[in-house]
Amino acid sequence: MSSHRTANDPPSGERGSASGVIDIGLAAASFLAILGAIYCVFVYVPTDALQGPVQRIFYVHMSMWLPTFTAFAIVAVASVLYLWRGQPAWDRLGQCAAEIGLLFCTLGLITGSVWARPIWGTWWTWDPRLTLTLVLWMIYATYLLLRTLSTDSHQGATFAAILGVSGIVDLYLINRAVYWWRGIHPAVIVNQKGGSGLTDPQMQITLVVCLLGFFLLFVWLLRLRMQAARLQDIVEDVRELLTHPS
């Protein structure tokens, strides 16, 4: 009996060095871009006339969503491909993207809450977008939980992939439901997330720098996580070989 997750590609020297250069490049680029983003957010960008200094968190908050939704889209694609093709690499990609997507999603929810408290006067409202995000957060948290609670990694991967597929087909329905749900009653708070400010070119530049910085960070983290997952699979294969040599 062999473990299902066989590492397809051995960690050969040349491949390792090329991807090492990309990793260092990505790390350096995201470090510089986030440094730039910190400068922009705290020094360069003017304070918002209506919301005051609190509005500065918006740039970071907004930057969390691009990685989040990219990650969840990757999970969906990887899930379909894993069920279809059964290659362990797709499963690894799905798992790693879900973990990092959930990280950014959590940070996005927290930064949004911090912003909402002084501006809306409440940590949380059942605004459709917030509700949708919370439901998504729960689906992908369960996605990860399902893996850890499965009895073997092959099962966990298959089950998680089914959830990944269900999650994405459900997305449209959840979206419609939460919008109608809140749409029937007039919204207590009109949702205008920093909308007024972004005509200012300095604010636009800051937002772009932030988006870029965090997206680079996301890509770098995803690569690192993928490498770690691949090494883990190799270790498991070796262990399997040692304990059941056949």
Binding site: L146, S150, S166
Partner: protein
Amino acid sequence: MLALLWKDLLIEFRTKETLASLLMLGLLILLIMSFAFDPTSELRRAAAPGVLWVAVIFAGVLGINRSLLHERENDCMHGLLLAPLDRGTIYLAKTAANFLFMLAADVVVVPAFIFFFNLPLWITVTRLLPVLLLGLLGFAAIGTLFAAISLRTRAREVMLPLLILPLASPLVIASVQASSALLNGASVRTVGHWLNLLVGFDAVFLVVGWLTFEYAISE
């Protein structure tokens, strides 16, 4: 498929355990919820559709869990897998059985709900029926697929609600909103969009379940 459905119904008819537990649980949740809300206030009337659906859904979760647990006992699932059948067919039969069990339990739970919450009997029943049918079908569709998964994980019973409740959120929202509007005297036409959403949900998860059930049960 009909043979499989018949097998499930026959087992249930002889043991009556799923139905009995579904029923008792549904009634208990109604009772607890009546304690949770002040029985005399207007608030309770507003909360009534929510209470009904909480009872239906939590009883449903346990009922579906039980029905797939049957297949694990004595390795019945292996027998089913050996049969020359499309896996999708097994899924549809299981879903149909679960749908019928929940419906049967609700034949008692809904009148109890009407009784406890002091609602007009026939008007309520006829108005709630389409929402109830669509909601239960969708819940059976998603529940059957994920019960097959959750029963093979370590957390088992805990895992099923964790898996399906977030995914079923459009179903819950649509059912509660439609029931609430209908109980307050709105016409069926005004809740048409909720019913459409329920139909969409049912269709989507029947197809997803039919396609992916194979992966959920194969070893």
